[in-house]
Each structure stands twice: as structure tokens, then as C-alpha cells.
Amino acid sequence: MTIQNGTPSTVFKIVASAVAALSLVAVAAPAGAAGGEAKHPRSGGFSFEGPFGTFDQAQLQRGYKVYREVCAACHGMDLMSFRNLGQPGGPFYDSHFKGGPADNPYVRVLAAEVQVADIDSETGEPIMRPATPADRFPNPYANATAAAGANGGAAPPDLSVMAKARHDGANYIYSLLSGYVPAPEGLQIAPGQYYNPYMAGDLSPFWTGDPDHVPSGGFIAMPNPLADGQVTYDDGSPQTVDQYSKDVAAFIAWASDPHATERKRTGMGVLAFLFIFAGLTYASYRRIWKGIAH
């Protein structure tokens, strides 16, 4: 009998790698969904999805406005500085201002609208002063205990990396914020708790209805934060809960991964280089191995 050479083709190797990669994603993915029967997030149809997607700067500006006027009352973004708003890819980036974010008048004005705690350099007394681009977003609470105390025991989570800290982050934030519905009849809700179908959790202990039809979702300590017309948009965008939710979700997605656009753009160059390099190397391989039995 003849013995097969058995050298797997290049195609086979690529397919094998791709299968391996996909199975890894498949293994990793369900873990994120575990922990409750929450409703699958709706798609926000975001411009930054996909390998070519970029952030919509107008949307990021609106999202910052929603964060500043609504969310910031309870949620910190400790990792964010005002200067980040004016960095390349940021909501208020403008290439006209050569001095960088600190030179950007929008950023300076937006920072100055917020008061931050400081120490008077003359007297050493604690003071409040308008923020500068170098300052971090101030946290609304003095510490985590104060945050929990003011919110019925549940400290509002920091939003700096929220879109990375939840599975399908931007869509999840959008769905949660725009997904508040009245609690289904038969669900026992403790004071200070609210029902949201997108929140992770297990409602079966609190459900008095048909045990086979436990409502999806969970309890959240945050009451519905948004209402139509609550935030004024200057660009004519609809002033609806749905639009606010989308915009703030986009802003948080940008804040969670501010270099996402740069990353994707770099990836294009890297992949183009690697494909050309692979082609050249394969041609060399064919040439070197020409006439060599193996």
C-alpha cells in the first residue's frame, strides 16, 4: 500500500486555526451571560460597531451632556479627566487647537462648569474651584460608604469602563436605560428596588405567579433615571429616552475604550502588512522547496 504524505495543506491550517479561535470565543461567551435570565440586549445600531466602525462625535457630545446632567449626580467616572474629552477621537477633539486638549476652549469651558475639591495653596484650607482640563471628573460622593449610604445600600458603580465590564456593553447600557417597564403583576418588590428586564438576576424567589413563567430580568436599585425632554439637545436630535440612552451608551463605550478607533485603524495596517508578508514568504517557500521531495 502507499503511504500518504499527510502534510496538511495551508488551507487546512488556516481553517483549523479559525475553528480553534471560534470555539474559544464560543467557550468564553456563555460565561458572560450566566448569572440570571436577563433579556438579551437590543441593538443600539451604533456607528462604532464592526471592524471599520468609528465613534459619531456628535453622539459622543450629546452622550457627555446626558452623563453630566443626569448620571453624574450619582455615578463617578474616576478614570476620566476633562482633557480626555479633547483628545484625538474624543467628543470635543478639534485638530485646530494645536496645543492639545488643554488648548481646546470647549474642554476648558466644560471643565470650568464643574467644581472640584482642592487645597488652597496659600492657606492649606480645603476649597472648591472650577476644574481645569487636567482635573479628573469629580466623584459625587466622598467615599464608597457615603455612596452606598445615600442610595439605600447600593453604591452606584463607577462608569469609566462600564462598557467593558458588561457583556455586549454598549447595547446592554442602552437596553437597560431605555428598558424600564412596570413590574409584572405578581412580582414582589422590596422598597428601593426597581424591576428591569435587562438586569441580571433570578426573580423566581419573588415571583408569585406561574413558576414556569418567571419574568426575565432582575432588580436594580436605580430608579428609571431618564424621561423624555429631560436633557436639551442643541443639534435637533430627538429628546427622547431612547435617544438619550443610545447617546450616553455611546459616550460610555468611548470612555471605556478611548483608543478603539486608533486600534482598528492600526489593525488594518498590521493585517495588510502581514498578508503581504505572508504572500512573499509563501513565494520564497515555494521557490526554496522547488524540486525538494518531502
Binding site: 500500500m1 467557550v27 463607577d158 467593558k164 492600526t266 518531502h294
Partner: protein, 433 residues
């Protein structure tokens, strides 16, 4: 193969001077001229890929360590600072984090290749054992590294895994405190984990040197699994350079394309979202899972009802790899000529993937949703607990029963007398054994 004649001739004066004092150029030149079996296929390129992975992890890791702060109050923010404010920091950190996954993809394929072609059999037992040592060190290093960002999964993963040490009879408790540097996972734990995470890659590097030394002493295996006698070296081998540098190089570039797809387009796909929540000792995540590459061993751990028994099984699953050279009774190396064993091997690969799948599920969850089943001892039959136990049983049976038994019972196909015979001598193999 190992004792091939050195073909390096120093030409210039300085080369001659150096060659009689430190023959380092000769070492490199001989390495490049190393006679390599001409029939190596692409499954043999993972050694070079792994070397690259190790270098990438060390280089990116050293840069990350310049910016990382091993303090429970600052670790999480320092990693995010790297991602936000350090020039190119997002790239370095994503390469390092995904590099760990890439490293494990490559090492698993490398190990399966060794298993398939019998690369552990005499005279290559030491190469295999050193490889097992590297694999074990890689797991330890990856675990330590995953703790460093000090997210929820970092903290609770460390909690679960160090707790296992506490299951050791008698000395468990003091050993646990010694390992953690205190009664609970805290700053002392993070500091020593950082220190060890920096140390172990260099230990791995040292063992890799031994791995390669052993490889070049006993010679590379090949898909035919036959030894290359000295008189056939010229016929059966090709110099490493340029033949295998170009072949390895092509494979490395394909691997880098896969690597780049993850780094640039789905950098967090292989991680867990909970690790972007800062560690909180007071809030347990709904579902604590290790990184994907540890899932099969995590599944084995949970399959055993007794805690210490589970720890023994988990370490046993790695420990059994060390003795494979003596568990395999077959006279034929390559499974290409072992049709029966090949079937068991394919099942083994599926079982390994299945264990990984089970490791990510809740043990009580139903495997087939809605299918009625019954309680068997401590769990429903239709649960991941029992599926995991079934797969765990096969995992161990493959090495401890199937490998010795099939080796004795099966009738292998005729093995070619030499590497080049099937390709150069007309393809009529001699009957052997």
C-alpha cells in the same frame, strides 16, 4: 543528527580569534545547518511559534511592569492608565493579555502534535518531560498574571485556586496562609504574585533551553516517526536554514494574523467582562470561571465530589502527562500507522474540548434543556456534572488504560524504513516489526 559535523569555517581574523575562545558564531552557524527531517509538516511549526510567543510575552511584560503598580488600591487603575495614557499602552497590554491565549493555543496544538506522532517515545522522553514542565510553569504564570489587574475575576479566581491548597490535609491551612502572605487575599498576595509572575517566564526560558538542548541531542521526531540513522542523514534531512526557517516563518506569519485579529478587533473576546469590575472582596461574582485555557482542568477539579480529591485529579491530569513515555507500549511512534489508536486520539481531542466547554457551565445546568432525567448519587444525570465526570473518566482512561492496552493489542500498518523512502525510493515501504 545531533553529532553532525560542524561545517563552519571562520574566514576573517576576528572570527578565527573568537572561534578559539568563544565559538558562539560556530554555535549559531551549526544551529542553522542542523539536519532536519525533510518530511516535517506544518504541525511541526508550533515550536518556533511558541518561542516567539514567549519572547512577545516577556518583552511586552517588561514594558507593562514599568507602568503597573502592584498595590490593591492602585493596580486596577494602573492597568487602565496603561490603556489610556501610556503611549501605545493599549497595544502592549492587549498584546500581552491576548498573547497568553495565543501561547496556550499554540502549546495545546504542539502537545497534541507530540502525542499524535509519538514524539515522547524513546529516545525523546526527556524532551517531552521538559515540555510538561514548561506547560505546568505556563499555567502557573498565566494564573499569577491574571490576578494582577485586580478585577473581580482576578480576585475571585485567586480565592478559588489558593483555597485548593487549603484542602491539603494537615498542612493545608498554614500552607495557605504562607502562600497568600496572610489569612486572606490582600496586598501581600498581589505583591508576591507580581514578583513570581515576573520570575517564572525566565524560569520557563531556562527550561526551553534545556528542551531544545535535549531536542538537538536526540534529534527531531517526524511524521513518519522513524529514527534517522547516521548513514541516511544526507538523504533524509535538509539543513534547518533555509528550508525550515522559511516554512516556520510562513507559519508564524499566519499565526500572527490570527493574533492580530484578536488584538485589534476583539481584544476582550477571550476575557471575562467581570474582570473590568475592580476587585471587591464583599461581592462574589455570579459565576467564577477561569480563563479558557484552564477550563478543562477546572472541569476535572469540579467533577470530583471531594475537595482534596478534586485537587489531586486536577494536578493528576497534568501529572499523568509526565509518564506518558512509559504508558505507551506501542513499538510504532506515529499514529499515522496506528489506525486504532488514531480513533481514540480523535475522541481524546473532542473530550478535551468538551471538558473545556463543561468548565464554563454551571455544574447543575442541564446539558440537554428540558430532557427529563433522574438523580444519580449527588446530581441529575442530565447535568454538566455528570457529563464532566464521563469526560474526565475518558481523559484518564486514555492515558492509563487505552494507551498501554491498544499498544499491545493493535496491529500497526507497515512503517516505512526511513523518512525519505516514501518520497524518494518509490514509496514501497518495508515491513517492519
Amino acid at each position: 543528527m545531533s553529532d553532525h559535523e560542524s561545517t563552519y569555517v571562520p574566514k576573517t581574523g576576528i572570527e578565527k580569534w573568537l572561534d578559539s575562545r568563544l565559538p558562539i558564531i560556530r554555535f549559531g552557524a551549526d544551529y542553522m545547518a542542523l539536519p532536519t527531517p525533510r518530511n516535517l509538516n506544518y504541525w511541526y511549526t508550533f515550536g518556533g511559534i511558541l518561542m516567539l510567543c514567549l519572547v512577545i510575552q516577556i518583552v511586552t511584560g517588561i514594558v507593562l511592569a514599568m507602568h503597573y503598580v502592584p498595590n490593591t488600591e492602585m493596580a486596577f487603575a494602573s492597568v487602565e492608565r496603561i490603556m489610556r495614557d501610556v503611549n501605545g499602552g493599549w497595544l502592549i497590554r492587549y498584546v500581552h493579555a491576548n498573547g497568553a491565549s495565543m501561547f496556550f493555543i499554540a502549546v495545546y496544538l504542539h502537545m497534541l502534535r507530540g502525542l499524535y506522532y509519538g514524539s515522547y517515545k524513546a529516545p525523546r522522553e526527556i524532551i517531552w518531560i521538559l515540555g510538561c514542565v514548561i506547560f505546568f510553569l505556563m499555567i502557573a504564570t498565566a494564573f499569577l498574571g491574571y490576578v494582577l489587574p485586580w478585577g473581580q475575576m482576578s480576585f475571585w479566581g485567586a480565592e478559588v485556586i489558593t483555597n485548593l491548597i487549603g484542602a491539603v490535609p494537615v498542612v493545608g491551612e498554614p500552607l495557605l496562609i504562607w502562600l497568600r502572605g496572610g489569612p486572606a487575599i490582600d496586598n501581600a498576595t498581589l505583591n508576591r504574585f507580581f514578583s513570581l509572575h515576573y520570575l517564572l517566564p525566565f524560569v520557563i526560558f531556562g527550561v526551553v533551553v534545556l528542551h531544545l538542548w535535549a531536542l538537538h541531542t536526540s534529534g527531531q521526531n517526524n511524521p513518519a516517526g522513524v529514527l534517522i540513522p547516521k548513514e541516511r542523514t544526507a538523504k533524509d534531512t535538509l539543513p534547518f536554514h533555509p528550508y525550515f526557517t522559511v516554512k516556520d516563518g510562513f507559519a508564524i506569519i499566519l499565526f500572527l494574523i490570527l493574533f492580530a485579529l484578536f488584538v485589534f478587533y476583539m481584544p476582550n473576546a477571550l476575557g471575562h467582562a467581570d474582570n473590568y469590575i475592580p476587585a471587591n472582596p464583599l461581592v462574589t461574582p455570579a459565576h467564577i470561571v477561569p480563563e479558557w485555557y484552564m477550563l478543562p482542568f477546572y472541569a476535572i477539579l469540579r467533577a470530583i465530589p471531594d475537595k482534596f480529591g478534586g485537587v489531586l485529579a486536577m494536578f493528576g491530569a497534568i501529572g499523568v502527562l509526565f509518564v506518558i513515555p512509559w504508558l505507551d507500549t506501542s513499538r510504532v511512534r506515529s499514529m499515522r500507522y496506528r489506525p486504532t489508536m488514531k480513533v481514540f486520539f480523535v475522541i481524546f481531542v473532542i473530550v478535551g474540548l468538551g471538558l473545556g466547554w463543561c468548565g464554563a457551565q454551571l455544574p447543575d445546568a442541564q446539558v440537554v434543556p428540558g430532557m427529563p432525567s433522574f438523580m444519580l448519587l449527588d446530581g441529575q444525570l442530565n447535568s454538566y456534572l455528570w457529563l464532566t465526570r464521563l469526560l474526565t473518566a475518558y481523559y484518564f482512561a486514555f492515558f492509563l488504560i487505552i494507551m498501554p492496552w491498544v499498544g499491545l493489542k493493535e496491529t500497526p500498518l507497515p512503517v516505512p524504513a526511513s523518512v525519505s523512502e516514501p518520497v524518494l525510493d518509490g514509496g514501497i515501504p518495508e515491513k517492519k516489526g
